[in-house]
Symmetry: C2
Subunit: 246 residues, 2 copies
């Protein structure tokens, strides 16, 4: 850990949902008034989990070429209809404006407590940007609300493809005018890092063992030879800034 | 001025070269050591002006469809070769690495003194982003060096077309998930605002009467019915924040 020649790293790009922000608590908080108003009995965390479960298959359609690129806000909105149907509610019975508003739950997620302090330190040395499947406006709203000091908003919508397709990582390096090896992907998800590493990027795992709640079993530990492994953005900043000094 | 219903404006996008940053002084400063090392007799401001003169025709090739989109850094580098040739220097006689380094002059431009204070105030109320023909890395480097607090880096490279093509303005509104009338273009150039207004955007003219030096004749005054006309970003912030309050 930290033995990589990270003096060559020029930019850090970050997964956001789960890595920078706690999507599950945020979505649960935002759906709570809706659940009450609809007199539903579903637990808000289960609602959040159900909504998130539709995320990967929805993007897979775009990656497979079955569908042209559409931004994540559109997929989230479609997925909300699916979740409501699963809960026995006809989405057509609810005003579209209410569901559009509810869809913005994903724009109001709080960062993990270490995220902004760590990013602020890392920004002194590196270019920092999100490399999320979330669209530009979604990332922008989260950052503006939470004070995340990104240097730019990169990600799926800029390169018009979803992770973990290789073009997302490679086109992002190209936009930054750097080599893949000069770009480090930071994520709490081993599969994201595996895809980034296969493209020649540096990799940093930050564990988020409560992303999925108390009983999380996946991604609790590093499952690959990542260049950095840390338990917070503060620890990551300590590693990356110290090595660079040395 | 300021009578527009700007409570509907959600985002401000900014021209950068000339509007936010003083490109002429910055490029002149950056080329000075090169001129000395090559024992040239050209005035550094004339060098900057000659380099800038190639800007519009180079982009016109892309807008006309004669050439696929290439980022401005590439055009600037090609244009540098043209300027050197005009000065009687064979670009091939100079190490490519030196010219690549010189090309980064455009990444090291200082904001006009009012720009960062004004933007910082405007950011409290509005989404702020560059809408420049400069590429992402170029905009990012200028912002990081100067502390410009953009919420995102938008512009030509994101939408893969150069201003004043209508798609640049319209696709940017679409990326921000707002109507064209909710987006305000801020520029020191009447032609940029004319194109933006034709797409339904709001417009703000900020005069930069020294962009081209002491004897500037163009763009000294507003030449259209722009929604806001100001002499600095501070004054623009006063107008836009006051009206919003009222």
């Amino acid at each position: 850990m930290g033995n990589v020649d990270d003096s060559s790293i020029k930019a850090l790009v970050f997964d956001v949902f789960g890595t920078v922000v706690d999507w599950r608590s945020g979505v649960a908080r935002e759906v709570t008034p809706f659940i009450a108003s609809q007199k539903l009995t579903v637990n808000p965390f289960e609602f959040a989990d159900a909504w998130r479960r539709e995320y990967v298959p929805a993007m897979a359609e775009v990656r497979a070429g079955n569908r042209g690129f559409v931004r994540l806000d559109v997929l989230h909105r479609e997925n909300l209809d699916k979740v409501l149907t699963e809960l026995g509610i006809d989405p057509q019975s609810i005003p579209a404006a209410s569901l559009d508003e509810l869809n913005l739950a994903w724009h109001k997620l709080d960062p993990w407590p270490d995220a902004v302090p760590g990013l602020t330190r890392l920004k002194d040395r590196f270019i920092i940007a999100p490399l999320s499947n979330g669209n530009i406006r979604l990332m922008l709203d989260i950052a503006k609300r939470a004070g995340i000091p990104w240097d730019a908003i990169l990600g799926a919508e800029v390169v018009r493809m979803y992770k973990p397709a290789p073009s997302v990582y490679l086109d992002t390096a190209e936009l930054l005018a750097i080599e893949p090896a000069e770009l480090c992907m930071v994520a709490a998800h081993n599969d994201d890092l595996k895809a980034a590493k296969a493209c020649g990027l540096k990799t940093a795992f930050v564990s988020r063992p409560r992303e999925h709640g108390e009983r999380q079993t996946s991604d609790r530990f590093a499952e690959g030879q990542w260049d950095f492994v840390a338990s917070s953005f503060i620890e990551l900043a300590d590693m990356m800034l110290e090595v660079g000094q040395g």
